[in-house]
Amino acid sequence: MSIPRPKLLEMYRDMVTIRLYEETMAEAYLEGKQPVFNIAAGPVPGEMHLAAGQEPVAVGVCAHLRNDDAVVGTHRPHHFAIAKGVDLRKMTAEIFGKVTGLGRGKGGHMHLFDPDVHFSCSGIVGAGIPQAVGAALAFKKRNEDHVAVAFFGEGAANQGAFHEGLNLAALWRLPVIFVVEDNSYAISVPKSASTPIATNADRAAAYGIPGVYVDDNDVLAVYETAGEAVARARGGEGPTLIEVKTHRYFGHFQGDPEVYRPKDEVAQLKANDPIKRFREYLVQSSPDSTNPEADIVQMETEARQRVEDAFAFARESDYPAPEEALLHVFVD
């Protein structure tokens, strides 16, 4: 598989954007929560689930997607949203609870809806799976060659919705790709305490569809596997189940005491960081031997600017008027 360098750089930029976004969010989240952590305080209150370390999954898959393809994310949605091209300003404003946000401040971090790029997500584990199946059914009914992607965690693969969604998709041969992020934990519960088999990819057999396990948190490996799945889906050959071994650097949510995992686990994981590895690859494979980092640095700059811009926009935006709470239960 040979990927044109501009595409590689785009993927790199998105990964860096995600990483910076999550790190910036982690800091913003702590504002107002020190010295005493109070979940309800600061400019970004509520639960906060960050995806630093999991960039390869989102980016490796979404690199194949077009605007009209649908993506359904989870309670940990930022990396998917960024990779799918959700408006970063509006998304950040939403997370800051501002009226300029995607949902005018009503949804917050777990409820990001951007119909322009067909992105949605949910705070309920596993719930997005059937919804992606429905999007795929819409595409099939209209003879469009769009695809739908449902992302979810390895913990979600034990929900009934997983079974029902995959069964329907396989039965109706729908253009949908199911992507499991195996980040080893569902909050505190390790995969070995929730799933009796080693990889959820093997569950594809229960539906007669292909199942692939990508055992390395590597964006190119994900890209390759996802490429085949997306091609199958667009070609009318039905769904694929992909599981990717990945790693979560932060706690389950910010404030998680993380009593359930070894203190040094994350440090060890970071030694093999997927962004660092991808950067090395880009340097080595650079066509510009005199300045192999030039285009890479440009991407990093772009990423930083986008993130800074988005947070600035969010901070400067206004809160909704309190009475707006009564609006939008229904559309007119």
Binding site: S122, P130, V133, E164, L168
Partner: protein, 337 residues
């Protein structure tokens, strides 16, 4: 509109769906046994023959799967009508219904549309026991984000279904098995009623005064409306003039019609085939008090299933369900004690 033609409620519903499928190719039906079987309660009878498996899709027994899929379909621009065979089964798929279908519009600040009709069968009276006889509209009306529509006549059924399909918001459409006019469930003698051939809509949030009266207001929905009308006839013989209000939709609720009626009659009975406590009767009673406290001559009276699961055996089930005689009795207590 010509209303000389009479249809059952089942035919009124399937006709509404057929006309909307013909008008708008984004409309289709899915659910268990909606295809060749025509729906267990015939709400989709004849549609498969007319439109085929693309517009009338049978599904596996995977309610979370296909109702969740209906949401994905609606958000991608389709207009699904999805049948949950019995409302009693909501527990296997409630997350999709109330955490997603009912809330995505709000979460998005009005940026997405969810044009979806969740059609479901309600009601008991034919000894189908506690997992197949419930009404549960109180449960759905309590949770924000769904319009709750409950037809009691074939005429209303057609107009409300067309309104539901054309609405860009999610609607739960709850028909009563005993009112569908099914040959094999002769609970109500005459369930056919006049239904115009052409499509028409009925706005949500407008209660219908099914009978005018002066001495007491009986408020109900669905089967309760029939029973109330029967009771009203009986009461008339006893010299009591009962007004019967069919709410038709619990969300939105027509407060004005209720208030006006109560100000006239000063006494209210609420009749409900759902469970008594923390449900429709409490809400209507509280609403009446809020709207017309100074007019009330007596506390609002409630007749509903007395907080027990629906029992199987005939004498037990009849004991807990509302009926015309019980309504008559309740009205008399309301007036004379």
């Amino acid at each position: 509109m010509n209303t000389s033609r009479k249809l059952t409620m089942a035919r009124a519903i399937s006709e509404a769906i057929a006309q909307e499928i013909e008008r708008d190719d984004r409309v289709f039906v899915m659910g268990e046994d909606v295809g060749i079987y025509g729906g267990i309660f015939s709400a989709t009878a004849g549609l498969y023959e007319k439109f085929g498996p693309e517009q009338v899709m049978d599904t596996p027994i995977s309610e979370t799967g296909f109702i969740g899929a209906a949401l994905g379909l609606a958000m991608e621009g389709m207009r699904p009508i999805v049948e949950l065979m019995f409302v009693d089964f909501f527990g296997v798929c409630m997350d999709q219904i109330y955490n997603h279908i009912a809330k995505n519009i709000y979460f998005s600040g009005g940026n997405v549309r969810v044009p979806l009709v969740l059609m479901t069968a309600t009601g008991g009276g034919y000894n189908d026991a506690g997992q197949h006889s419930q009404c549960l509209w109180g449960t759905f009306a309590h949770l924000p984000g769904l319009k709750v529509v409950i037809p009691s006549t074939p005429f209303d059924a057609k107009g409300l279904m067309i309104s539901a399909i054309r609405d860009d918001n999610p609607v739960i459409y709850m028909f009563h098995k005993g009112l569908m006019g099914l040959g094999w469930m002769t609970l109500i003698k005459d369930t056919t009623g006049p239904v115009p051939e052409e499509p028409y809509t009925i706005p949500f949030g407008r209660a219908d005064i099914k009978r005018e009266g002066n001495d007491v207001t009986i408020i109900s929905v669905s089967m309760g409306v029939y029973q109330s009308l029967e009771a009203a006839k009986e009461l008339e013989r006893a010299g009591i003039s009962a007004e019967v209000i069919d709410l038709r939709t619990l969300v939105p609720l027509d407060r004005e019609t209720i208030a006006e009626s109560v100000k006239k009659t000063r006494r209210v009975l609420v009749v409900d085939e759902d469970y008594l406590s923390y449900g429709m009767t409490g809400e209507i009673a509280a609403t009446v008090m809020e709207l017309a406290f100074d007019y009330l001559d007596a506390p609002v009276k409630r007749l509903a299933v007395p907080d027990v699961p629906i029992p199987y055996s005939r004498p037990l089930e009849q004991f807990v369900l509302p009926s015309a005689p019980k309504i008559v009795e309740a009205v008399k207590e309301l007036l004379y004690s």
